[in-house]
Amino acid sequence: MTLKTLLMGAVASAALLTPGSYGPAKAEPIVSEPLELDVFMHFRDKYGWNTDWPVAQKVAEATGITLNGTAPVGAGDSRELFNLMIASGDIPDIVGGEFSGAGVKEAFDQYGMEGAFLPLNDLIAEHAPDIQKVLDENPTIRAAISAPDGNIYYIPYLPDGDVGRVWFVRQDWLDALGLEQPRTVDELYDVLVAFRDKDPNGNGQADEVPYFNRHAEEAIRLVNLWGARSTGSDSYHQFYIEDGKVVHPYAHENFKVGISNVAAWYQEGLIDKEIFTRKSRARDELLGGNMGGVTHDWVASTAAYNDKLAAEIDGFSFLPMAPPADINGKVWEEHGRINVKPSGWAIGYSNEHPEETIKFFNFYFTEEGQRIANFGVEGLTYYMVDGNPVFKDSVLNGDGSVVAQLWEIGAQIPIGFPQDYEYERQWTNDLALKGIEMYTEGGYVVEQFPGIAMNAEEKAIYDKSWPNILSFMQESYEKWILGAADVEAEWSDYQAQLERLGYSDVLAALQTAYERQYGGSN
């Protein structure tokens, strides 16, 4: 018996068990005659739509529509594959995908307006009640997925959960030095100084790295402690909205105060000296080497170090803590999960079955579709317990992370579907859950701005100036932190140079686009 037949068997038996076991009765198939559609879908430089995915087969069975992938199922450069597909001019019935880290909304908008994808507004209103409901209840989501011409060209992937990165501190070090978790920026300073000077790991060497991070950008994010912003959304360097105006954090007056203090901390050795080059090794190296004291990182994966290192480091305890209050006394967390991703899927212009396709998209917003997209296939990855899906032990303790196992069978992939945080809660450890609870109850996480859709003229202005401006900003703040230049002395020159590079023009273009896109939703 091959693996495939095993899986098919699992799918078939799961299908026999499903009816009536969860919520409303099983959805009626969308089509009376089986329908096959082509789909281009490649994501994470690793996965392409695979008709053999148990989840894909399960969905095909429920809807009567089978999708045949046109992208290679194995590894490849997702962005390149996507661009090649567009350049060929041969747009499949359905197009989805995600480039390493980045979504494809911009491509959906641009090529959609050029005619490559169908506008979905009317199709959604007429044939997709469940999607329509989500859009009606969340005007921000509707605004965020709209193109500059007001049309919607893609059905988005809607992540669930708010908390992303949180603060972590070595509780056992605090205890050894008789300190409390820092609650303000001044207390944090004292803790970092103590970590630097008082040899909390007790090896007799001053090898402690008080604050460390895998991303140099997180050192910039420390400006939060002085009330400044470092980005507007879940990725770095993004614009944000202040009193209805689009602004960039690095050009803001309060960034000057923040970055000069961060520079002072760096000079004093409170921030990892090697933060610019240590990168992804930082967590393993510094936690594993019993040298790192405080960080700000993804809650679940960082909390997991408590399990990993328990045997190696005596008393190792790396606990989530609330964000220290900034100098204005405000407690807030800049990073959160965005609730609408710039990825999902769209309908190609030559699709002969747009109605069936949008109904197919809608399936993922129904209870049954959501469960399949989040948890996989009943019997294969989860069982129903008291009417709720619960992952099997073999999945929770399987090879690789749960989410990677789900990708392998076609669940939790960046297509248009609402994520259910429950899927993640089941494999997140208790420490992390406590941290999440603390941040959720405290209401620390600020709203994440989902981004602005620019029309062709606005985008031309942005594309011409923005890459240079951002490079210049990064170059400047790194020099300030490294002490190669002085913030106070340079700030007015810095502002003048931003002006020369066209910062005002970019802001004006974004402001127009922002008002057009979000004007109606507030």
Partner: protein
């Protein structure tokens, strides 16, 4: 010019007119066709390369029109509207583009001065080794770095030059006060970049010079020995002049690539803090163009690159032909 009596050898040069004086004079076209018919086997052997270049080198050049268009992947090369020299104006008005050009020229120029002679010196040194076993081992060790992936090399360099890395450890032992964070200092980028490149490539590149040295007639050395020349004199007066044509050809090729600085390696080593000296044309194109799918601006920069490189090669070739009678064509 020598008069050829045997028409069968005239194919040694297409430019040499056949000497069939007894026939009525042929037009250029007729002569061309006759020459092809006479030497068709040779043209047949040439064909695969010509077709290769037409398909893979010349046809893609049509894509250069993207530089003059407002290019959209979906509309395609022919469907996108023309914008004239707009993208070139964007390039030339951009102060950071010129900084990238400057950095590219400086890095390449320094490479030419320091990295180009390295494999030649290495080859000369290998050639002087008398113990065959040691020679083979030394050569193998020198070749090895070439086969290490550039990503790994960058990782090694980052580790070595980190404040807690081996370079700083040695400097501290020698009495330096504070560790230096080399990779965030603009003034250190070029030495590190070029130095590590020499370490990686000099051994492998020395192969071509070793081959040239192997081709030098032993009788020259024997007669020099009879005349009482020292080993240094033999190297200076026999080996070097004999491999000079090879050196010049390599130099011309190198000059053609003057604007091509290893893009991946720079990306792996640079920081915003070192853009000042490290940002080269290709990395600028990457940030300005490719990250945002602005293929048109990126292509315009590529065209600029190609035009400069073409001019440089022609100039270098002409200079070389005039000065040393060695040239690529």
């Amino acid at each position: 010019m020598s008069v050829m009596t045997d028409p069968g050898v005239s194919h040694t040069s297409i430019l040499t007119p056949p000497s069939e004086f007894d026939l009525p004079p042929l037009t250029l076209g007729q002569r061309f066709i006759a020459s092809i018919l006479r030497n068709w086997q040779i043209y047949l052997m040439l064909a695969p390369m010509v077709i290769y270049f037409l398909i893979f080198a010349y046809r893609p050049m049509l894509g250069l029109t993207i530089a003059f268009k407002d290019f959209s992947l979906f509309k395609g090369i022919w469907g996108s509207p023309w914008v004239g020299l707009e993208h070139f104006r964007t390039l030339f008005e951009d102060p950071y583009f010129w900084r990238a050009v400057k950095n590219t020229v400086i890095i390449s120029g320094l490479s030419l001065i320091f990295a180009f002679p390295a494999p030649i010196i290495l080859a000369l040194m290998f050639n002087e080794l008398r113990h065959q076993g040691f020679k083979r081992m030394a050569q193998t060790i020198a070749y090895l770095p070439h086969f290490i992936s550039i990503v790994i090399v960058a990782g090694i360099v980052v580790n070595f030059f980190a404040p807690s890395g081996i370079v700083n450890l040695i400097l501290m032992k020698l009495g330096a006060e504070d560790p230096t964070y080399f990779l965030t200092k603009p003034e250190w980028f070029r030495p590190i970049f070029i130095g590590s490149n020499i370490w990686k490539e000099a051994g492998f590149e020395s192969i071509i010079y070793l081959a040239a040295i192997a081709g030098v007639s032993p009788s020259l050395y024997e007669s020099a020995k009879v005349d009482g020349a020292t080993r240094f004199q033999m190297m200076y007066l026999i080996t070097l002049p004999c491999i000079l044509p090879t050196i010049l050809i390599m130099l011309i090729i190198r000059i053609g690539n003057l604007l091509e600085v290893s893009f991946e390696y720079v990306i792996l080593l640079y920081q915003p803090a070192t853009y000042e000296t490290a940002d080269v044309i290709t990395t600028w194109i990457y940030r300005q163009g490719l990250q945002n799918n602005n293929y048109d601006v990126a292509t315009a920069a590529g065209v600029f690159n190609a035009v400069v490189a073409f001019t440089l090669v022609i100039t270098a070739n002409r200079l070389s032909r005039r000065l040393s009678k060695t040239s690529l064509w």
